[in-house]
């Protein structure tokens, strides 16, 4: 009982927060120079064009200033962030070959078990490198490729070269440039024309080394009519020094293809999560983002959908839960660039114990996007007056054949509703937890089951912990 009175974060997070002793094979020195970048590239035996891309990105990084908007990033000292940490193991497709301490980490997170039950394939990254990658045979036989980015860069060099950092060029912002210079690890997925991947693929990113950065690159290409659900999970143990995550996700959704990209981000609360995600959607294709942000110290994340083919569609379903010491600045960007495109945004946030949740979005409708539709709905729940909840949406509409709606609401748990539930015998805390679970339900039902259960558990624990 006594434990419940301590910070919830500390009981609940044990599966995520427990670090392993640092035991890396190779580590670059702190800070960022052309030598470090060249070292990373030559260590991976990369083609020359990639080294050039890295060095160009480094140069952009040097001349780009931090964003003039959003959360303050003054705590981030780039000279202190170790960019590249290679774990003391190679890549394998057999969990038995993964070193015990690393495997135990993924066991605690439930990855190998989920792989057996409900996934078509799994990738697991530990610090800067992928330690495990596997895909079920039947998927492989249908031509589905699911491997780590380093392997893809060698085996499918031309495909990678054609797509790599084309949706998110290094010039996008400072952390995209940083990513371009020091990226390492991540997953590559290719689904051929007409192939439906029945069960999801899941990549899990684990950052173990203190004070390090993780810069994985995920590239997914769906050919015409293909279907895929991809799940990305992230966590890191808790350290007193800041860690940095600046990953990059580029998704190419072909004609009539559908991609669902689900992310559960549960980084520890010393993480600066400055991630970039972008999808380009062709004619009648669809991207569905499902995004849950629970962890990190600061997050800036705005998955972007470029609806470039006629009839393309995007959905964004997001939830964030900001508690003490957290500033979660999340949302989405949508560019309607073709006729009859549609977008739907549904965002919910909860702020508590001084946490700060910010919803930020930009919906752009270009002149050629006739008959486009967009509907945005944002709801924020404030659980106390020490917390903050800000909604900062922008709509830029450049044609008159459109139907655009935006709704936002801010408020707290209604005392009347709590009373109503209590007259049915439900205790006060449980009533509040029930209302919050109801509030997040539309998002929870979009998540893979084990994550939905995890999210409900998190909500319940937050309530038991807050009053007690």
């Amino acid at each position: 009982m006594e434990r419940k009175k301590t910070q919830v974060a500390e009981i609940n997070r044990s599966a995520y927060d427990t670090p392993n002793p640092e035991n890396a094979a190779y580590k670059v020195s702190k800070g960022l120079t052309a030598e470090i970048v060249t070292d990373i590239s030559s260590g991976k035996n990369e083609p020359h064009w990639m080294l050039e891309h890295r060095l160009r990105s480094l140069e952009v990084y040097g001349r780009t200033s931090l964003p003039s908007w959003g959360p303050s990033l003054h705590e981030l000292d780039m000279d202190q962030v170790v960019t590249y940490v290679r774990p003391n193991t190679g890549m394998t497709n057999d969990w038995d070959e993964v070193p015990d301490e690393i495997k135990q980490t993924f066991d605690r997170l439930g990855i190998p078990e989920a792989e057996k039950l409900s996934l078509s394939g799994v990738g697991a990254q530990y610090d800067s490198e992928v330690v495990y990658h596997s895909i079920k045979d039947e998927m492989r036989r249908q031509g589905v490729i699911y491997t780590d980015m380093d392997t893809a860069l060698h085996e499918y060099e031309e495909v990678v070269r054609k797509h790599f950092m084309k949706l998110i060029p290094a010039t996008s912002h400072k952390f995209a440039a940083l990513h371009g210079a020091v990226w390492s690890g991540g997953s590559f997925v290719y689904v051929p024309k007409g192939v439906e991947v029945s069960m999801p693929l899941q990549s899990y990113f684990r950052l173990n080394a203190p004070g390090a950065g993780q810069f994985e690159h995920t590239l997914i290409i769906l050919e015409e009519g293909a279907r895929l659900q991809f799940i990305e999970g992230c966590s890191a143990p808790r350290y007193n020094v800041l860690n940095l995550h600046a990953g990059c996700v580029e998704l190419y959704v072909g004609q009539g293809a559908t991609l669902r990209y689900s992310t559960i981000e549960n980084w520890s609360r010393n993480m600066m999560n400055l991630n970039s995600k972008c999808a380009a959607v062709e004619k009648n294709g669809a991207i569905e983002w499902v995004s849950g942000t629970f962890g990190s110290h600061i997050t800036m994340l705005y998955p972007t959908s470029i609806l470039q083919g006629e009839g393309a569609r995007s959905e964004f379903t997001g939830i964030s839960f900001a508690s003490a010491g957290q500033e979660l600045d999340t949302g989405t960007k949508v560019v309607h660039a073709a006729p009859n495109t549609s977008s739907m945004v549904s965002s919910k946030s909860i702020s508590k114990n001084g946490g700060k949740a910010i919803y930020r979005s930009a919906i752009t409708v270009l002149p050629e996007a006739k008959n486009s539709k967009s509907s945005v709905s944002c709801e924020s729940l404030m659980l106390d007056s020490d917390s903050r909840s800000d909604t900062i949406p922008v709509m830029d509409i450049r044609n008159d054949e459109v139907d655009i709606g935006h709704e936002a609401k801010i408020g707290r748990i209604s005392e009347e509703t709590v009373f109503y539930l209590m007259t049915r015998g439900i205790g006060e805390n449980e009533a509040k937890a029930l209302i919050v679970r109801g509030f997040v339900e539309p998002i929870a039902k979009e998540l893979p089951l084990e994550y939905a259960v995890e999210m409900n558990r998190l909500v319940t624990l937050e309530f038991e912990g807050s009053i007690g």
Partner: protein, 250 residues
């Protein structure tokens, strides 16, 4: 079963109940009538312990236990229940999962989901409630009549010892009043009790009433048997309280 003595209560700065006594025994059906603003709904909310209502004097004793200061959910666990005039809408929780949670809270017994589901469907059929409503979010998108039926459904599912029906018949059409009052009759037995709050009398037609109390300006001004209902129907509340000018029943 329920003994209310010398009850005074206020909301904000205004005194609503001004010294009220009421005793209800097991097996009885009581009716409280009175004009708008007399304090009828306040009484219901005070019995259930609504946080906005402050009891300044008197006590509420239920089954020999003083519950004047008890929390709302504790009162519900002891067997008190009220229907709401405007039931709250709660997004994200289905009627069925809400009722299972509440039933577990009240009885403390875990039941098989399937058994509960079957029982719920039987009750819903009795109330002429389409079974698809079991999977809908609590009161979201329900019509006024459906919300009222849902309140009765909850009453039937939770088996309270004393159910307070607060204006359950208002805003219902003839058929719905009939369904609701059949539901109420199905609930009633010798061990439990009913307190019906109303300012009209439609719902009372098919229910056997043991006692009627007329509430005016926070006090009970007249007690009587079922015949008092006809008296009110005939001459309104004004005739019963000659000293004050009060609007009658329309």
């Amino acid at each position: 079963m329920l003994t209310i003595s010398g009850l005074k209560a206020r909301v904000g700065d205004s005194d609503i109940l001004k010294g009220l006594d009421l005793t209800i025994n097991a097996g009885e059906t009581h009716v409280i009538m009175g004009p708008n603003g007399a304090g009828k709904s306040t009484l219901a909310n005070v019995i259930m312990g609504h946080p906005d209502y402050v009891v300044t004097h008197g006590s509420i004793v239920f089954d020999g236990e003083d519950i004047t200061d008890a929390k709302t959910d504790e009162r519900a666990k002891k067997g008190l229940f009220m229907t709401f005039q405007n039931p709250e809408e709660v997004a994200g929780i289905t009627v069925e999962s809400f009722l299972r949670t509440a039933r577990f809270a009240v009885t403390g017994k875990s039941e098989r989901a399937w058994d509960f589901h079957k029982e719920l469907l039987t009750l819903m059929e009795r109330l002429d409630f389409d079974e698809s409503y079991a999977a809908r979010h609590l009161n979201i998108g329900f019509s006024g009549g459906e919300k009222k039926k849902n309140e009765i459904l909850q009453m039937l599912a939770l088996h309270p010892r004393l159910a307070i029906l607060d204006e359950t018949d208002s805003g219902l059409d003839v058929d719905a009043v009939k369904t609701v009052s059949e539901g109420v009759r199905g609930y009633k037995n010798e061990k439990n009790a009913l307190l019906i709050i109303t300012h009209s009398t439609k719902i009372l037609e098919n229910i056997k009433v043991d006692a009627v109390h007329i509430l005016v300006d926070g006090q009970i001004v007249k007690n009587g048997g079922a015949s008092l209902i006809d008296e009110v129907n005939h001459s309104g509340f004004t005739a019963l309280t000659p000293s004050k000018s009060i609007e009658g029943v329309s």
